[in-house]
């Protein structure tokens, strides 16, 4: 009910589309579309206060916030862990709360607002919608496309994008996966799903997720590199070099998909002196996670061979 009303207000064909429109409107109003997008003017425009609360040590690795309707107006209560390396994730968390504010302001009716959270499924959809808002705000499509004209997806290109948008690696990769047509990003790490299974390079997640429609490649969690021919993910991991393959085949459930793929990765963390500064603040890299390989992969028929030059420029020359 609430999301239907939201769609009517913002005119999107779906709640996701409506949220994208709403976020674009907010950025346009605030004139803050150039990356890295500062959040302060957005909160000021929305008239929403931010209250910082120290999180208990046992939750130190989690970022989190809640939106409260306080007497003095809407307030985002931001739980800080004290861990500097959470700064990028905290930005996403704050932008996520802007999604909630947009919904509240748009609906302006308690019955409609309550319907957004009326069941676990509705709650999941609500949270996912606010994640979309955060992504739209911190990684505006136009700015991402502009950046992709300058930087490719090799480790150095990814590092530039990471510093340009000042979001987490996860948020950046998700957005890249969503914005490139007929494409996906598959994250790989070495692990096993059970004690009986060999620890090897396996899929951790695909962005965007599975869809019956469209041409975006997809691999389920847990798949090993046996589903790829050639196994460029393994090659990139062992050589610590990005590998571009024009004729990559993905095998899944007896079917194969012709693709163009780039197996790449984020470079290791840097010295603090080489980290970017934003509004006078030195932005730390996120804590290093387990070594992971990112497979940027596009359907060859629908995306065409030219996508290879978007993935890795020097190869195309």
């Amino acid at each position: 009910m609430g999301l239907q009303a939201f769609c009517q207000i913002y005119g999107g064909g779906s709640p996701e589309a409506a949220m994208r429109v709403a976020c674009a409107a907010l950025l346009e109003t605030c004139g803050t579309e150039k990356p890295p997008v500062p959040l302060k003017p957005l909160f000021e425009k929305l008239g929403v206060r931010i209250k910082k609360v120290r999180r208990e040590a046992k939750h130190a690795n989690q970022a989190g916030a809640v939106l409260l309707a306080a007497r003095e107006g809407l307030t985002v209560c931001l739980y800080e862990s004290g861990a500097k390396s959470n700064w990028r994730r905290q930005r996403f968390t704050l932008a996520h709360e802007i999604g909630h504010v947009i919904l509240l302001r748009a609906l302006n009716d308690s019955a409609l607002i309550e319907s957004l959270d009326s069941s676990p499924a509705a709650h999941r959809q609500l949270e996912s919608l606010c994640d979309i808002a955060a992504s739209e705000i911190l990684l505006p499509a136009r700015a991402v496309r502009n950046a992709l004209r300058k930087f490719d997806l090799t480790p150095s290109g990814l590092a530039m994008l990471y510093d340009l948008f000042l979001v987490s690696k996860e948020a950046l990769v998700r957005r890249l996966g969503a914005i490139m047509p007929h494409s996906a990003v598959v994250k790989w790490q070495i692990y096993s799903r059970s004690d009986n299974e060999k620890a090897e390079m396996r899929v951790v997640r695909s962005f965007p997720g599975y869809s019956r429609e469209g041409s975006r490649p997809w691999l389920p969690v847990g798949c090993s590199t046996r589903h790829l021919d050639p196994p460029i993910v393994q090659w990139a991991a062992s050589q610590r070099e990005p590998v571009l393959e024009d004729n990559l085949k993905i095998f899944l459930r007896g079917r194969s998909q012709e693709c163009v793929g780039l197996a790449t990765f984020f470079p290791s963390n840097r010295e603090p002196s080489r980290q970017p500064r934003f509004e006078g603040f030195e932005v730390p890299d996120e804590a290093d996670s387990r070594a992971e390989i990112l497979l940027f992969v596009a359907d060859k028929v629908m995306a065409g061979g030219a996508i290879a030059s978007d993935f890795r420029r020097e190869v195309a020359k």
């Binding site: 064909g13 589309a17 425009k45 629908m302 995306a303």
Partner: protein, 442 residues
Amino acid sequence: MRDNEPPLPRNVAGADEAYALTLADVLGKGQICKQGDVSASVGSGKESKEILNYATVLEHPRERLVFNDKRRLNLPGAVARFVWMMAASDRLADIAFYEEKVKYFSDNGIAVPGSNYGQRMLSPRPGLNQLESVIRRLRGDPSSRRAAISIFQAEDAVRESKDIPCTFGLFFHIRGGVLRATTLMRSNNAFVLLPYNLFEFSLLAEIVAAELGVPLGPLTHQAVSMHIYASDYNNAQEVAEAWDATKQSTTPKIPEMPNRPGPLGQVTELVILEAHLRHGSAGVNARNIEEWIERGAAKLHPYWAQLYYLLLLHVAQKNGDRGALASLETLIKEPWYSYLPAGAFTAGIPVPNEVPTAIESPQDESQGTKIVSIYSTRKVQSLKNRVSEWEKESKRKMSWSQFSKIQDVFMERVAARDLDSEVSREEFLAVVKMTADKEDGG
């Protein structure tokens, strides 16, 4: 050469050269022809220079863009003509959206009865698709001489109309392992229409070639009457001279059409997307441009998506939306980007003094002053303008709850297809009074 004897077919590289040399030939060797003013033709009573049975052979028809310093194609307009053709449409409104002058070719203000090449080609009668038949015949027999499309019909030889088809027919042959296409024009306005005809028929030829999986060979463009109207002599001369000065095409290279996904399927998607875009065009703006982009990107191969973005560009230009244009600038790639005139993404659009309000900061959540950001139909846009006027005049802020009530009243009043009319001042003030009364009354 005797007077008005057609020159031998000219072999040229691409559309740029074909255009300039055709103009030079007609200006230099054409016979003056004064049309009588007895017919409904748009050329009726006008003087022109004309060569009968003029032919030019484009060796590289993929070089389909006229890039002359003095005149170049209106690229979104050319794409729109092609899409309109492939939609098998004869509706004037659908093409006049991109090119208003087409209205001069309609007898009733509704249909375009002769230049509806697509309808004549793809659906002259239900189930009769000449293009599919061409592809089927050439698949079955690559040496066939029967792969032809008839645009001109027997009734065109008889009926009186402002618009009798200028194109007579199209022919396709596979010879020497390549597809050789021929366009036969009854009549061709060399200055105004030849660049568009070369664009659309070379694109059609490439579709046939890609569907058949054979390379695209030369395109012969032959006009029984190739002519230039007197009013265009000077401009045509300038185009010919501009070519003469360089004698080489500066047209950016156009990529080869992919044969997978199948071009006909992609054209169908493009036609559907174009219809959606045209119908929703009044609401295309910076805030929702990414939605419009996504619709095309999800369905189309990048080759075809570029054509869709050019149509979106036309709409964004029409709406004067700087943000939407800026988004499209990040998407439109070469060769199209270079072909567009300088300022295609900004020209003529004044910088707004104030960015329109989307979600303003309220003083108090329970009495929000204004939350205005709605899908921009003309009606909603005008409603927002009326609210701004009212706020200025009354020096008061309209509350969100009152705005939403006013909006509800208007939205309930409109018939499904009446989103394009504007809210009048009188109508608006009456509704303000009515909703204020209700608020006061509890």
